[in-house]
Subunit: 241 residues, 2 copies
């Protein structure tokens, strides 16, 4: 790539940049491909460190990491999922309902490790820098930690699945969380037989990827882009999955 004159080049070398884009494009929300092999402690430590290096509002670092390998705890969490999912399934009827019931939506018991990433809403005290206008920024920061871990895991060959069909109050109860701590993400982790070549829901015909070019606006909602070159670049991106 040509560099404008004089600008310092802080870009990564090609292979490292490829690694970042591969992690982003080949990451999957894994439910059905888990293998029982345990994750070595030094690998797990790297993943947790990656999560811990997410940005956070006011550097509040509101996260904690609960590593759940106990079969008994996972079975209790799985029962929460089952109850919630039965309720959720009722919202989908006819052909869509049949498809919904065929989808595998979690790997709580098959994955060797579950990880709950929590958000302590009281960390850093009453006045956290940057959290004055939008109090949910602590939850948002914790999401960024989830994505760091998810991408690092992909680079290590480890699959991650986020179980969002779960009652947070019941989950907090099972894990003994203090009142100020919210169980933001319940994740299943493990090595996998394979990473699917496209998202499971696209594959199953539930919903497809939206065209990116239609989601990019100019200086306001639905405003055209200033740059025709960018429009062309967005429309001609190589198809990915």
């Amino acid at each position: 790539m040509a560099e404008p004159s004089g600008r310092p080049d802080h870009a990564f070398p090609e292979a490292q940049r490829t690694g970042v884009y591969r992690a982003i494009h080949e990451r999957r929300d894994v439910r059905a491909q888990f293998l029982p092999d345990p994750i070595p402690p030094e690998v797990l430590a790297r993943l947790l460190e990656a999560a811990h290096h997410a940005p956070s509002v006011g550097f509040m670092q509101p996260w904690d990491f609960l590593l759940i390998d106990s079969r008994e705890v996972r079975e209790r969490v799985h029962r929460i999922f089952q109850r919630e999912n039965a309720r959720a399934a009722e919202c989908h009827t006819e052909a869509r309902g049949m498809l919904y019931r065929r989808l595998k939506l979690e790997g709580i018991l098959e994955s060797p490790l579950n990880l709950c990433i929590t958000c302590d809403r009281s960390r850093g005290g009453e006045h956290v820098l940057g959290r004055h206008s939008i109090v949910e920024t602590d939850l948002f920061s914790t999401c960024l930690a989830v994505q760091n871990l998810w991408l690092a895991a992909r680079a290590e060959g480890i699959g991650v699945g986020w179980v969002s069909i779960i009652d947070p109050a019941e989950l907090a109860d099972v894990l003994g969380l203090p009142t100020s701590v919210y169980p933001l993400a319940y994740l299943c982790l493990g090595y996998v037989s394979d990473f699917l070549d496209q998202p499971e829901l696209a594959r199953a015909g539930w919903r497809q990827r939206l065209p990116l070019a239609e989601r990019v606006h100019g200086n306001g909602w639905k405003q055209p882009l200033d740059s025709p070159t960018l429009s062309t670049a967005l429309e001609t991106l190589e198809p990915r999955r």
Copy 2:
């Protein structure tokens, strides 16, 4: 790294894995180091594509991307920041208040491009798969898109800063967002003179990184870890910034 026998190895080659961890550890929340050089359209397209490949609940892809280079729009947004920041500053008194007022907390006008990543809370209709239990999962998905973009930008040598001191209703008004669309992240993007070697707030003495080992629990809150090897691995991680 030794591989357990027979398990397929989906890990990335060393240089690609290094790229992922470098992006995670060398990413910064940039406020003061922006250069005016424009971001080439093909690079910007890659960043937006990275964001668009985030995981989303029910594959709902609730995000839109507003590219703001208009000086006039940026000035209006900057005024929202100034009002909000004046209010936020009042929460910090004495030495802390003096330090707060010295911190640079945004680069709205100095960066060549602002990007608002929004969340359309109505996308995918009333019953989005996986959103039954926790309605905020659409916001969480949008956060994951932010982090994808942030890491890809680091690999491209581009700095990103998230301006969280902003009134979302006023921002939505300036950008002409429909009622269902929430302006989740207001980002400043641009090439930089340098990436700081540690987070700006740590450097300024505002708040330091927490010890990771104290944030990792076993099968419930404050439960010990099963694996002493993991505890050791967490305590002996190389110091990073």
